[in-house]
Amino acid sequence: MPDNTILLDHGSGGIASQELISKIFLKHLDNPVLRTLEDSAVIERQDGRLAFTTDSYVVDPIFFPGGDIGKLAVHGTINDLAMRGAKPLCLSLGIILEEGMNIDDLEKIVISIGQASKESGVPIVTGDTKVVPKGKGDKIFINTSGIGVVPDHISISSKNGQPGDAVILSGSMGDHGITIMTRRAGISMDGNLRSDTMSLHKMVSCLLAEFPEAVHTLRDPTRGGVATSLNEIAASSKLSIIIEEERLPIHPEVRAACEILGLEALFLANEGKCLAIVDGKKADDILKLMRTTAEGQQAVIIGRLVDGKPGRVLINTPVGGSRVVAPLHGEPLPRIC
């Protein structure tokens, strides 16, 4: 391409658009359905109910250790399907580019989307690209929507929690959130912090194959972190949740970065983890199975659901005290006090 930046022409539907689509999108996302470039992808009849989800991605910076906005967009939407017990079928990809964005960066992101899609086994079957004038966007915004199939015998919902259920967290907390935060000007630090962005549908599929009834709720604790997700689950199930502070898995580096900035990992986003609310009697077996999967090697039981004030989340602290974990009211900010 003669010029290395995105122009308004690239979103106009004309020749420049076609070039962008064939030289970047089709090149790296190629599959039989997408290749037809029809106005809609038509999906064959499925055996089960359909799950449908959408998510938009506006993360800044667009490249970060462990991934980029493209990878995030694929994993995030696949995970939303998996959290309802759906087998992900396909994704749509809507992109809004800011005039002036570097095309090499766009290509890197699309390559990343292609890789994530391929590794996950979930194709991008339809897409759209628009360009907005400089200053009206922020390099690139992405929307992915996804369709999945929920087998008839599966019912996973945040309303299904029962007293006595165990709360399992599939791995360490806060990795993504702290990685993004420390990439900002004014609060950067050196270290090996990495986003944990990852698709979880294979692990979920494995769990549901063995324990179709014992898994009551699945939730990926993205914005707002584990604390916010637990509050939502407690409210939906109309129960209380008690977690043990000492069992919360946090990487030493994440812990250190949180200490420096005055943040709590409980409130930081995760992009490759899930909470599983499971029948208490099967919890140990489910944990064992989870730990055999690549995605759930570090899984731990962090607490349980109990009868109590609906929607309340309590944490037992190392001094033997307890206190409420309330949901976040806004973005976590670094503090000095």
């Binding site: 900002r184 004014g186 033997g320 307890s322 206190r323 006090c337």
Partner: protein, 362 residues
Amino acid sequence: MKHLDEYRDKALVKPLVAELARSVSKPVRLMEVCGTHTMAIFRNGVRSILPEGMEIVSGPGCPVCVTSASHMDAFIAMAEMAGVRVTIFGDLFRVPGSNGSLAQASSRGAKIDIVYSPMDALDIARNNPEDMVVFLGVGFETTTPAIGATILVAQREHIDNFCVFSTHKVIPGPLELLMQDPDLKINALLCPGHVSAIIGAGAYQPFVDKFGLSCVVAGFEPADLLNGLILLARQVSENNPRVENLYPRVVSWEGNGRAISMVDEIFEPVDMEWRGLGVLPLSGLAIKEKYAHFDAQKRLDITIPESGEAKGCLCGQILKGITIPPQCPLFDKRCTPANPIGPCMVSSEGTCAAYHKYGRDD
């Protein structure tokens, strides 16, 4: 993490919890004056294991909480000036003035950057030569030396598009004034750990001599907190008030002379308004004339508006420890973290925010 983990060790903490339970023989009503202590106490669930007869009152230890509405309004006005980029600690972002917060100003297009260190603000000034970068200075003795040092670096490196709006305050004078209030019935003081690193444990001797207060300087880890409470209870039981330094790994009797000199070089004491407490004599710090070039109030010709307190807000009483959040008629009704009336609810360490997040009772 060395020098942290040892003080979280369960083998240490468990017996201390048991000891705390037996340590009170005479009623202890203690005040803590450090927002970080407020957070640490709540976060560790210490309040849920406080023995009968021990009460903790949260005083004005949160520099963001005690920033007056007038100052917040001036901050916001500054942020909305053309050609100005304001840099702040994250704590300030959601604090309301009379008419909204810096967060709201940001949504209207004001250039506001959150930084971890005032030195990051200096970097932002270097990278944005077309803007006047203002650092909004809030903080007690722990923070003021850092801001002073940053001004010296700016001077040395001729960074002309950088200045500081100082609303920095000092603790001991105002605390002494507070102690003179007859409604305030405390007999013990949990002294701030890191302010003490600068001013020294000796700074609290006057509180023992004038008011008979038991004083313990303590750190922030579970073992530090528990031990601090135990020692305060014992001092009260023995009727032997004194200053005990339980944080010698960080605090000395004399304090940090180098940091104190830095503050003396750049700043001078002035009367300053504290939210809820009014104007307290010589309780604030202004940048000396010698460094006027880095004083935002002079560079940008700012007048501080006369803003009243939000109606019904009891932050002033809460800061004095006379009222606890649940007693404020606005608490959790009109005043919530999402819609704060006063800074006590907004600041991540504010008494009301901490109560709302961690200490809600059924």
